[in-house]
């Protein structure tokens, strides 16, 4: 087994050839499945939503596959390994958030929309301005989420393939992007869904095996595992920076330090719990089932699987803390994101690492493919068909535009991924959640539940939420101005760098104290939605009646009627 010293010397663990082989096998198998299920030319309905032909259980597993992103697996495990219980908040927030989707959103959305999130929001409001606004916000949220996934790919690549050089890492990110676009182009929503189902099963199985393995090493005692993690942390070189290693199982290690960090924690918690039901690629999945009953069943399955998985990540996180240790994790390329793969190597050597790494790659591929489908549907259906062509385009044209957009989004993902390589991905995803909770969720809830909601309210809420959340992120410590810390560089030297996006500590234009904007931007978006609606007299009673009756009874939901 590789000791600490050999690991510090080499930037790679395991056997790169093996890692690549397992990944290639996964790609080949899934690609075969995608080609098999794809079935030639597609209508818009098939391309975006697989014709609503999946069962609730299949869709529930696919939702888990879509949702258990690299952030969940790599990011949360890393956060728990290094920060202890403060990292656990991510798991809880990401899970509890599903109740918003279950109780308030999933079934009503399924009953009132067909292709995209904007279908529901534009239902009783003015089509063009709403579709434009929603498209902008869908694309922004998807972009943040994409960056997080691609950042995960970058870190993973450097760890597994031993490529610390910029060029080589970028090349692998490009390969991931190209494979993903291929899935989307060939398979549409149906192919992508199957990739997500396969990936969900593999990921949950792998996490389960690792959890049992870790617990087995500690006599199946959670308390024993915590003792182990604390012991390892005590022996760690940066024990003092973790503010007392014996506090690893305590709350408040990272966020309890100052009043600002405490408020930041609340802001993060709010964004996590309200973000899920505003994520476009999650909402899109509700259209892949035929009825609201199946949509309900999808969310039920998703909650069981996602909840179960997050319980496993708690053990995996502490397991990585105990068996790998904070020193190795912090020193590895990809840092916190490497905790889970490193634990796999510690447990089962090169083979286990190869399998877990292959699955982590698959995770990134599947999630990125889901995001790409959603974003390209928004481009083609909302912007091209409904806005530019005013509803007057053929299915063929629409699908063609969707495919071109998928390629364009793939390119953005590749270049974005190259730039975002070293960010913690759980954290980047949390920002995507904040934007989704601010720009999308208020409008979704208002249009489903509030009679007095209208176009002005929707536009104020969407743009207000979008601008405030992204604006506050730009002027937050995430982008600039965090105090510099000693950071190890790829060539082995050390430098004083800021953990902000601008690593140069001299660049500092932040004035917003919190990392996460949710606490301000989410209430603001709700308020603007209310205020805008109150200031406008627009009210379409007929459309409201139609939407409300259909949302609750499922009347009029069925296969496509416009052929």
């Amino acid at each position: 087994m590789a000791g600490l010293t050999s690991l510090a010397a080499a930037t790679t663990v395991g056997n790169p050839t093996l890692n690549i082989s397992i990944f290639v096998i996964f790609v080949l198998v899934t690609l075969t499945v995608v080609i098999k299920v794809a079935g030639g030319k597609k209508t818009a309905e098939q391309y975006y939503t697989a014709g609503g032909a999946f069962s609730g259980r299949q869709n529930g597993i696919a939702i888990a596959g879509d949702y258990l992103s690299a952030a969940s697996f790599l990011g949360i495990a890393g956060a728990i390994a290094l920060q202890g219980m403060d990292g656990f908040l991510y798991s809880i927030g990401f899970l509890v958030a599903w109740l918003v989707a279950l109780l308030l959103v999933a079934e009503l959305m399924r009953n009132t929309g067909r292709f995209t999130m904007a279908d529901v929001l534009a239902y009783r409001l003015k089509q063009r301005p709403i579709r434009i606004a929603v498209s902008v916000s869908v694309l922004c949220v998807s972009l943040f989420y994409l960056l997080a996934q691609m950042a995960g790919a970058g870190g993973l690549v450097s760890l597994l393939l031993g490529v610390s050089g910029e060029m080589a890492q970028n090349l692998v990110i490009a390969v991931v992007g190209v494979v993903m676009v291929t899935y989307v182009l060939i398979g549409g929503m149906k192919g992508t869904t199957w990739v997500q189902i396969i990936k969900a099963v593999l990921l949950i199985t792998a996490a389960f095996v690792m959890t049992v393995w870790v617990l087995g090493k500690y006599g199946f005692s959670l308390s024993g595992l915590f003792d182990g993690a604390i012991e390892t942390a005590k022996g760690s070189a940066n024990a003092k920076t973790v503010a007392g290693a014996d506090k690893l199982t305590h709350y408040g290690v990272k966020y309890g330090v100052t009043t600002t960090s405490k408020i930041d924690f609340i802001s993060l918690a709010l964004a996590l719990v309200l973000g899920t039901a505003g994520l476009p690629h999650v909402l899109q999945r509700f259209y892949t089932v035929p009825t609201s009953k199946q949509a309900r069943k999808s969310v039920e399955w998703a909650i069981w699987l996602i909840g179960g998985f997050y319980l496993l990540t708690l053990v995996i996180g502490f397991g990585a803390g105990a068996l790998v240790g904070p020193d190795k994790i912090s020193a590895a390329p990809g840092k916190a994101n490497s905790a889970a793969p490193l634990l796999a190597y510690e447990l089962g050597g090169s083979w286990m690492l190869g399998i877990v790494a292959g699955i982590a790659f698959a995770t990134i591929l599947a999630v990125v493919a889901g995001l790409t489908i959603t974003a390209s549907a928004t481009f083609a259906h909302d912007l091209y068909k409904e806005v530019f062509k005013r509803g007057q385009s053929t299915q063929d044209q629409e699908v063609k535009v969707a495919r071109y957009s998928a390629i364009a989004i793939g390119l953005v993902a590749i270049f974005g991924g190259m730039l975002a390589k070293s960010q913690n991905i759980a954290f980047l995803v949390a920002l995507a959640f904040a934007v989704a909770a601010s720009a999308n969720l208020p409008t979704i809830l208002y249009s489903l539940f509030w009679k007095g909601f209208n176009t002005k309210g929707a536009l104020w809420s969407i743009y207000g939420g979008l601008i405030s959340s992204i604006g506050l992120i730009i002027f937050s410590p995430v982008v600039s101005g965090k105090p510099a810390v000693a950071t190890k560089l790829a060539d082995g030297t050390s430098a004083m760098l800021s953990p902000s996006m601008f690593t140069n500590p001299d660049i500092d234009f932040h004035w917003f104290p919190l990392d996460n904007p949710g606490l301000i931007s989410i209430p603001l978006a709700f308020f603007l939605g209310w205020l805008g609606s109150k200031l406008s007299k627009e009210h379409n009673a007929q459309k409201y009646a139609e939407m409300e009756v259909r949302s609750l009874t499922g009347h009029g939901v069925g296969p496509a009627v416009d052929h």
Binding site: G252, K262, G307, G556
Partner: protein, 112 residues
């Protein structure tokens, strides 16, 4: 929307919306999901606020290294699973028949 109903059908929706049956369905749905949402959000933020403002309490060990906070966190999982189960059972048994009944009157009217 591509599947616009003709104008009379829109009025039918308004007629259905005004029926006591539909109002009862709406009340039934909201009467369940709104209090449930209020409950789980309050419960979640209790956990969040305690873990950040009462971390001494949350960090008290119950046995070994198992703290009150950990148990609190795991209880969030338990309640999430429980609410999912309760809602699904209620919706399948109570909500769906009521919704189908209202939906059926619409289908019936449309066939005239």
């Amino acid at each position: 929307m591509s599947n616009h109903a003709p104008a009379e059908a829109d009025d039918q929706y308004m007629a259905v919306q005004a029926t006591p049956e539909f109002q009862a369905l709406r009340k039934k749905f909201r009467g369940f999901v709104f209090p449930m949402t209020a409950f789980f959000l309050a419960w979640y933020f209790l956990y969040v606020l305690l873990s950040i403002f009462a971390s001494d309490f949350m960090n008290k060990a119950l046995f070994g290294k198992i703290t009150i906070g950990l148990v609190f966190g795991l209880l969030q999982f338990v309640t999430t699973f429980a609410i999912t189960f309760i809602y699904a059972r209620w919706a399948n048994r109570d909500l769906d028949p009521a919704a189908d009944a209202v939906g059926a009157t619409l289908d019936g009217q449309r066939e005239h």
